[in-house]
C-alpha cells in the first residue's frame, strides 16, 4: 500500500497484551478481539485498497462502556478508530497498527419513535434503512438514503455527512440530524442538539456532522423523519450519449424543477446493475437517467411531463414511467446496488466521490474518458446528477502488480479536475484516507490549520482517528493553542512563542 499512515507508537505496540486485558475488564470478556487471525476481518472497511490489522477490536454495548474505553485509551496513549458498519468508501474506519477499533455494531436499537415531534432516536449502529423500517408502518421515512443504506449505520452517516439519491430535494445527513450524544476522548458524555430544529448556543452539532470520527464517538443520534409523500413516480430515461444526459440534467435544474432524485449511470454501471437485478434498464444506450417526482398526484404528473419534454429535446431514445410502487423501487434498487454490482465486471474498483458544477459535466466526462485511455483502466460512472456529485468507479485488478497504483493516480487526477472546474473533493463519502493527500489542492495551509484547531479543541492529543482527513499531522501545540488539561500543559517539550 502506497499510503503513509502515522508511525505506530512502539510503547503502545509493546503494551498490546495489557491493552487487551484492560479492554476485557471493561467489557467483561464479551466483545474484545485480540488475535491476529480474527482481526483480519477488521483490517479494512469498504475501501479494500488500504488494509491494516488493528491493535485490537472492542465492541461495547453501552455509552458508559464507550466512555470507559476512551478514558482507558487516553490514559495509555492508545489511538481509537470508531467504526460503524464498515461500509466507508474513503477508508474512514481504516485501522491503525497501534489503535483500537471501537466498533458500534452492537448499538443496534431504535430507542424512541416520537411521531408527535417527527423524530426517531436511534443508537449509532442502527442501519440507515433500519430507521425507515422502524417508522414505515406509521407512514414516515428517513429521507437521506445512501446507496449502502441497507447496511451503513446512522452513526457512520453522521460522521461522514452521507448523502443519497434523495438528498437533492431533502438535504444531506446534516440537514436531517437534530441531535447526538457524543463521547469525547477523555470520556465525557456530551449531548448536542435535541428534538428541535435549533438548539441554543453555538451550532456544535454542525461540526459533528462530517467530522469523520475525529472529534468524538457518537453513541446516539436523533433524526428528523418525514411523512411519506402521497405519490412518488420515477422516469427511466435512456440517452445515446452521456453528454446528452448531462445536458438534460442541467436543463431540468435550470428549468426550476427540483426532482426528488435524479441519478445517472453510464453503460458499464447500468450493465452491472441490470445483471444483478434484471430491472429492465435499457442496455443499448450510453447513459441512463432516473428522475423521480414526489408529492401529490397532479404534481408528480406535471413534473414528469416537463422532465419528459426536456429529455425528448435532449435526444432521449428510451423513456419509461414506473407504473407501480414495486417498479419504482426496482428502478432505484438497481441504481443503489450499482457499486458492488460492478464487482461482477471487475474484481476490484476504486470509487471516487468528487462534486462539480452541473454545467461542467460534459467537459469533465470527456476529460475522464481521455484519462481512462491514458491509464489503461476502465471507468464506470454513477452520478448523483442532480447535485453534481460524481462517482467514477475505476476498475482495476489488485492481483496485477501496478494496477492499484495506476488507479490511485487516475483517481487523484479526476479529483484535481473536479477542483479545477470549480468543484470540490468530496460529495458525501468523506475525505478519510482516500482524499487526504489531495486536501492541499483545495485548501491552503491556513485553512487546514484552522480546521485542525477544531479537532484540537476536542482531542488535544490527537488520539481519535489520526491519519485521516489531514495530509500532515501537526501536534496541537504547534498550531499555537495551549491546551491545559488537569493543570498540565500538553507537550511541554515543544517550544512556544
Amino acid at each position: 500500500m502506497s499510503l503513509r499512515m502515522p508511525a505506530p507508537d512502539p510503547a503502545v505496540l509493546s503494551a498490546r497484551a495489557e491493552v487487551i486485558k484492560g479492554l476485557r475488564r471493561i467489557l467483561e470478556n464479551d466483545g474484545v478481539i485480540g488475535d491476529d487471525e480474527s482481526l483480519i476481518a477488521y483490517e479494512s472497511d469498504g475501501l479494500t485498497a488500504y488494509r491494516q490489522l488493528p491493535l485490537a477490536v472492542a465492541l461495547p454495548r453501552t455509552t458508559q462502556q464507550v466512555a470507559q474505553i476512551l478514558r482507558f485509551c487516553r490514559e495509555r496513549g492508545v489511538k481509537v478508530v470508531a467504526r460503524g458498519a464498515g461500509t466507508s468508501l474513503s477508508g474512514g474506519a481504516l485501522p491503525l497498527a497501534d489503535g483500537v477499533i471501537l466498533g458500534l455494531s452492537r448499538f443496534n436499537r431504535v430507542l424512541d419513535i416520537d411521531l408527535e415531534n417527527r423524530v426517531v432516536v436511534a443508537q449509532p449502529g442502527v442501519t440507515n434503512l433500519g430507521i425507515t423500517e422502524a417508522v414505515k408502518k406509521h407512514g414516515f421515512y428517513y429521507a437521506p438514503d445512501p446507496s449502502s443504506q441497507i447496511a451503513c449505520s446512522i452513526g457512520g452517516n453522521v460522521a461522514e455527512n452521507s448523502g443519497g439519491v434523495h438528498c437533492l430535494k431533502y438535504g444531506l445527513t446534516t440537514n436531517n440530524v437534530l441531535g447526538v450524544e457524543l463521547v469525547t476522548m477523555d470520556g465525557e458524555i456530551l449531548r448536542l442538539g435535541g428534538k428541535t430544529l435549533d438548539a441554543p448556543g453555538y451550532d456544535l452539532l454542525g461540526i459533528i456532522n462530517g467530522s469523520e470520527g475525529m472529534l468524538g464517538v457518537i453513541t446516539e443520534v436523533t433524526v428528523r423523519i418525514l411523512p411519506r409523500p402521497q405519490h412518488a413516480r420515477a422516469a427511466l430515461l435512456g440517452f445515446p450519449s452521456v453528454e446528452a444526459a448531462g445536458q438534460c440534467v442541467a436543463d431540468i435544474i435550470g428549468g426550476g424543477i427540483v426532482p426528488a432524485g435524479m441519478e445517472m449511470m453510464d453503460r458499464l454501471a447500468t450493465l452491472a446493475a441490470e445483471e444483478f437485478l434484471h430491472v429492465g434498464y435499457p442496455l443499448d444506450v450510453e447513459a441512463v437517467l432516473i428522475v423521480e417526482a414526489d408529492g401529490i398526484d397532479a404534481e408528480c404528473d406535471h413534473v414528469l411531463a416537463l422532465v419528459n419534454d426536456i429529455a425528448t429535446k435532449n435526444g432521449a431514445v428510451f423513456s419509461r414511467l414506473s407504473n407501480s410502487e414495486d417498479e419504482r423501487l426496482r428502478f432505484w434498487a438497481g441504481r443503489k446496488s450499482a457499486f458492488p454490482a460492478v464487482g461482477r465486471l471487475s474484481p476490484d474498483y476504486y470509487c471516487m466521490d468528487g462534486t462539480i458544477p452541473r454545467g461542467r459535466l460534459a467537459h469533465v466526462l470527456q476529460r475522464m474518458n481521455e484519462m481512462s485511455e491514458r491509464y489503461g483502466l476502465r471507468v464506470a460512472n454513477v452520478f448523483h446528477a442532480g447535485d453534481g456529485n460524481l462517482h467514477p468507479l475505476i476498475l482495476y485488478n489488485a492481483n496485477e502488480p501496478g494496477q492499484l497504483e495506476r488507479a490511485e493516480a487516475f483517481g487523484a487526477e479526476i479529483l484535481r479536475l473536479c477542483v479545477e472546474v470549480g468543484g470540490v473533493l468530496t460529495g458525501e463519502h468523506g475525505v478519510g484516507v482516500e482524499k487526504r493527500d489531495l486536501m492541499p489542492e483545495m485548501f491552503s495551509e491556513i485553512d487546514l490549520a484552522q480546521q485542525m484547531r477544531v479537532k484540537c479543541a476536542f482531542d488535544p492529543e490527537g488520539l481519535l482517528n489520526p491519519g485521516k482527513v489531514f495530509p500532515q499531522l501537526h501536534r496541537c501545540a504547534e498550531l499555537g493553542r495551549v491546551h491545559v488539561h488537569a493543570g498540565r500543559v500538553a507537550h511541554p517539550e515543544l517550544p512556544r512563542f
Binding site: 488475535d35 480474527s38 477490536v57 464498515g86 454490482a341 464487482g343
Partner: protein, 433 residues
C-alpha cells in the same frame, strides 16, 4: 478483492473455485445487513464479509484454522441470505462448503464435539436408525428438564426435544397412476422428513394425482447428503450424491422423468448442486448435472401446472415462513405464496422474512443458543400477524417453529394445498384444534 493464491494452489479445482468467489467480493458489507448471526451478535466475524476474510486467510495460507476461526464459521447457518443480498454475486455457498470440508480434514475438534457430530451424521440420514433413535430419545425425553442447560448438554437437550416431535406411520411406497398423464415425476423421498412427517409426501402425492402428474418410485435412493455436507464430511456427502444420481438415472433411462420433486427444500438446494459437487468426476458429471436440472421444489412443480379446483376454501389466515433453502438457496420466492393465495388462504406477510428460523439442518442441535434466539425472533414476527396456521416448505423449519411458543400450528405448504383441493385436513391442524 485482492487474493494471494499461488499458481500451484489454483491448480486444485476446489481452491480455484474458492479463489474466484473471494475475488468477486468487493467488501461492500451489504451481506452483513441481512445475516442472521450478524443481527444477533453484531460482530464482523459473525457476518459473511468477515467470514470470507477468515476463509480467505485460512485457504490462502493453507492454515489449520484456530478454534476462534472455526467457531465463527461454525456459527454460519448456511442460510444463504447473503447470497440473495450480494450485488457482486459472490458464490458464498460453495466457499463455505469448501471451508467446512477443509476444517473437517485439518482441525481436531474437542472429542465431545466430534462425538456429537459423528452421532448426527450416523443417525439422521438413515430413516431406520433415526426412527430407532427417536424412540430411544422419547424414552429419555422426560429427563430433559433435569439436564443442566449448559455446553454440550444443551445440544443433548435439543436432540431429546426433537424426539418429542410426533412421527407418522411407516410410509408405503409412493405410487399413483392418474388417468391423464401430464408429467412423470419421482420424489426425493429423503431421510428425516418421512420419519417425522410422512403426511407431507402423501399430501403431495394426492395433489399430483388430482393434477394428472404421475409419481414413479426410484429405488436405491437415500439421504440427499446435505446433512453430512454441512458437517464438512465431504466424502460421505459425495457418496450419497452418487447413489442418488444412480437411482434417478435408472428411472430417467427407463421412461424419462420431467422432474425430481423435493418436499424438503433443504434437500432441494443440495440436489440442485449435484452438478457442481460431482463436476470433477467424469463418470458422474453429466448425469449429476442432469439430475440437478430436473430437481424441483414441489411448489415449483405445482406452479408450473394448474392447481385442481378449490373445493374447500378455508379462508384461514396463513403466515408463510419462507425457508432459507427455498428463498435464498433456490431463489423460489413467489410460487408458494401465489399457490396459497390461489387455494383461498389469506396470506399475511411477516417482518424480517429473509431471516432464518434457526433450524438450518442440525444447527439447532450444534448451536442451540443462536438457534433458539432466531426461533424466538421468528415466532414473534409470525405472532405479530396473528395467523391461524403457519405454512412452510421445509421439514427443518416446520419442526423448529413448532417448538416453544408456536403462535399457530405449522404445516407444510402442500398439506394446505391438498386440503383446499379435496384432501384431508392436515394432521398438524387437527392435532392442535
Amino acid at each position: 478483492m485482492q487474493t494471494r493464491f499461488s499458481a500451484e494452489q489454483l491448480r486444485d479445482p476446489h481452491l480455484a473455485a474458492s479463489e474466484k468467489a473471494i475475488r468477486t467480493c468487493v467488501h461492500c458489507g451489504f451481506c452483513n445487513a441481512t445475516c442472521p448471526t450478524y443481527a444477533l451478535l453484531g460482530d464482523e466475524l459473525d457476518g459473511p464479509r468477515g467470514r470470507i476474510m477468515l476463509m480467505k486467510d485460512m485457504l490462502e495460507n493453507q492454515r489449520t484454522p484456530s478454534a476462534e476461526t472455526v467457531k465463527h464459521i461454525d456459527r454460519c447457518l448456511s442460510c444463504l441470505s447473503c447470497k440473495t443480498t450480494c450485488p457482486s454475486g459472490v458464490d458464498y455457498m460453495h466457499l463455505v462448503d469448501h471451508s467446512r470440508a477443509w476444517i473437517e480434514q485439518r482441525y481436531e475438534r474437542p472429542w465431545i464435539d466430534r462425538m456429537l457430530r459423528g452421532l448426527l451424521a450416523g443417525l439422521l440420514p438413515y430413516p431406520r436408525r433415526f426412527r430407532f433413535a427417536l424412540a430411544m430419545g422419547r424414552l429419555f425425553s422426560p429427563l430433559v428438564g433435569l439436564l443442566p442447560n449448559i455446553g454440550f448438554l444443551k445440544s443433548l437437550r435439543a436432540m431429546l426435544e426433537l424426539s418429542r416431535a410426533p412421527t407418522g406411520a411407516v410410509r408405503e411406497g409412493i405410487i399413483a397412476a392418474p388417468t391423464v398423464r401430464k408429467a412423470r415425476v419421482a420424489f426425493l423421498e429423503g431421510c428425516a422428513e418421512p420419519v417425522l412427517q410422512p403426511n407431507i409426501q402423501q399430501a403431495a402425492t394426492r395433489l399430483f394425482a388430482r393434477m394428472g402428474i404421475e409419481v414413479v418410485p426410484a429405488p436405491g435412493q437415500g439421504c440427499c447428503g446435505a446433512l453430512v455436507h454441512h458437517l464438512g464430511k465431504e466424502a460421505r456427502s459425495l457418496a450419497f450424491a452418487r447413489a442418488n444420481v444412480d437411482a434417478w438415472s435408472r428411472v430417467i433411462d427407463d421412461g424419462g422423468l420431467d422432474a425430481i420433486v423435493i418436499t424438503a427444500s433443504g434437500c432441494g438446494t443440495s440436489l440442485k448442486d449435484y452438478g457442481f459437487m460431482l463436476r470433477n468426476e467424469p463418470a458422474y458429471a453429466a448425469r449429476a448435472a442432469k439430475v440437478s436440472t430436473l430437481a424441483r421444489d414441489v411448489s415449483e412443480v405445482l406452479a408450473a401446472h394448474e392447481l385442481p379446483a378449490v373445493t374447500n376454501p378455508s379462508g384461514l389466515i396463513v403466515a408463510y415462513h419462507a425457508a432459507c433453502s427455498l428463498q435464498h438457496g433456490q431463489g423460489v420466492r413467489e410460487a408458494p405464496r401465489r399457490l396459497l393465495t390461489e387455494a383461498g388462504f389469506q396470506l399475511r406477510d411477516i417482518a424480517e422474512s429473509h431471516l432464518c428460523c434457526g433450524s438450518a439442518g442440525v444447527y439447532n442441535i450444534l448451536q442451540p443458543d443462536l438457534a433458539e434466539a432466531l426461533r424466538e425472533r421468528k415466532q414473534n414476527a409470525l405472532a405479530a400477524v396473528a395467523p391461524q396456521v403457519v405454512a412452510t416448505g421445509n421439514i427443518g423449519c416446520l419442526t423448529q417453529l413448532s417448538r416453544g411458543k408456536a403462535p399457530a400450528p405449522v404445516v407444510h405448504t402442500v398439506e394446505l394445498l391438498d386440503w383446499a383441493t379435496g384432501g384431508p385436513e392436515p394432521e398438524g391442524l387437527s392435532r392442535r384444534t
